[in-house]
Amino acid sequence: MKLTPEVVRHVAELARLELSEAEIHRYTEQLSAILDYAARIQAVDTSQVPPTPYVLSRVNVLRDDASEPSLPVDEALANAPDREDGFFRVPAIFEE
């Protein structure tokens, strides 16, 4: 599978990664090689095979809907790069 730099740019956009031109070209080459290697699974007949996203059979693990002590606001915000009045501070999301 030969990727193009355009596809790699698109994927970087989806992944919210700012990449340099040099990185785009390096990843185009390296990801193509990895996908070539991964192509060996394409030949396997899986038409009758269900997927395994998860190896345990447990589903819907439930607990009582009871409230428990949670992190104090100060501790929850202690690692924030920017905060104000008990909130995370971020650049404006909506334009004026």
Binding site: A38, T52, P91
Partner: protein
Amino acid sequence: MDPRPLHQWTVHQLLEGLGQGAFSAQELAQHLLERIQAVDPQLHAYLRVEPERVLAQARQADRRRRSGDRSPLLGIPLAVKDVLVTRGVETTAGSRILQGFVPPYTATAVARLEAAGAILLGKTNTDEFAMGSSTENSAYGPTRNPWNLDRVPGGSSGGSAAAVAARLAPAALGTDTGGSVRQPAALCGVVGLKPSYGRVSRHGLIAYGSSLDQVGPIAQDVADAALLLQIMAGPDPRDSTSLDTSVPDYRAVLGRTIQGLRIGLPQEYFTGGIQPEVDRAVRAAVAQLEDLGATVVPIRLRTLEMALPVYYLVATAEASANLARYDGIRYGRRTPAATVMDTYRRTRGQGFGAEVKRRIMLGTYALSAGYYDAYYLKAQQVRTLIRQDFEAAFQQVDVIASPTSPTTAFRLGERTEDPLQMYLADIFTVSVNLTGMCAISVPCGFDEAGLPIGLQLMGPHLGEERILQVAYAYQQVTEWHRRCPPSASPEQEQAARTRDSRP
């Protein structure tokens, strides 16, 4: 009393010594801290050691013991891989994006060991977000293999494996998503155990591949690995994938005969790029198990060649979703920009290293519109075939034996330019994660360059007792696990001391 210096004692030996009052927890901690200070500058196994905190906890352990406390790990210092969060102690996952992150809580696996009396000795180096097989992907510089400083310790739990091998910690925690406990254990000549999926809580383990990740012990011998697993295992209300199946007494199987146990030898694991000395050592180990009364059964595991591609599609897809949280908003580093979108892009572009970005890209691609069926879904279907392959094998045998890694430790820099070559280091270990099984790596010899070789024993899901039983029996008749690298042996110590005391 045992004349060896304290750093050469195993956890169970140290517990005995502490219990008899042969030495105090403070003396033990002081001794290990001095060793770390003397030896770790050459290895870089640790990212963080806080001596004051360690000594304060050791003194507290001594007080508790004097007042009659008999907690099972009271006063034992343990090293912890830096992808497990520790309250009040910086945790970076080997990444620049988490530099300065001080977690407000402690991972359940670590908290249970601490509740049993263990002391957090330090946080160990890791490939960034546990993505790598050599510890060279750490943003804070690589760890070196104590057996040969030009070689990698394996990865991603390379810091923990090197720390135990160099006797800079009696035991340590690692995490294993595709072999990250077992492969470095093999390359450093120590014991590494990957528990079954669901056996140990993942709460507080910084997520890489959520359907694959497990916390596991790295130790000098099988008895210590069983002891740590015993304390960590069991359900946790904070991890809904932790199983409520009762935890057996793992130490009860140690010493039990392996007479009549069937050991599968999969032909596919002994072909291709395997180093001849590894092949020989693993076959010799299996022959020794046969001498102990086990029956060796040749088996086939035809899905081996599918395991690595499936793993790298599944793990990276899960990683691309898990690492979306590092956006520079709530924690970690932020690279400011005018818009929130550019803040995300720039923070992530600059905060993540090359391998992490490569895996996020691969995973995002495999999950993206138009490619999902061909890659992600296909990989999940082939994963089913791999499971079925192993389920069929475990109808015939109790345990499967193989090399842990196809080669011994490679040179620093040897594989960094070729991601595929690096991924091949995991070829024998990833199937265990894809299927949820358990496996242990134990030292089984050395190559001609004096580098350790690991024997992998795989068991079915929740088959920890069987692999521990076999691994323990093997260590009763072998000495490989008692060997330690030059920097950890008394003779070398003596030489170093003489050198240091020279005017």
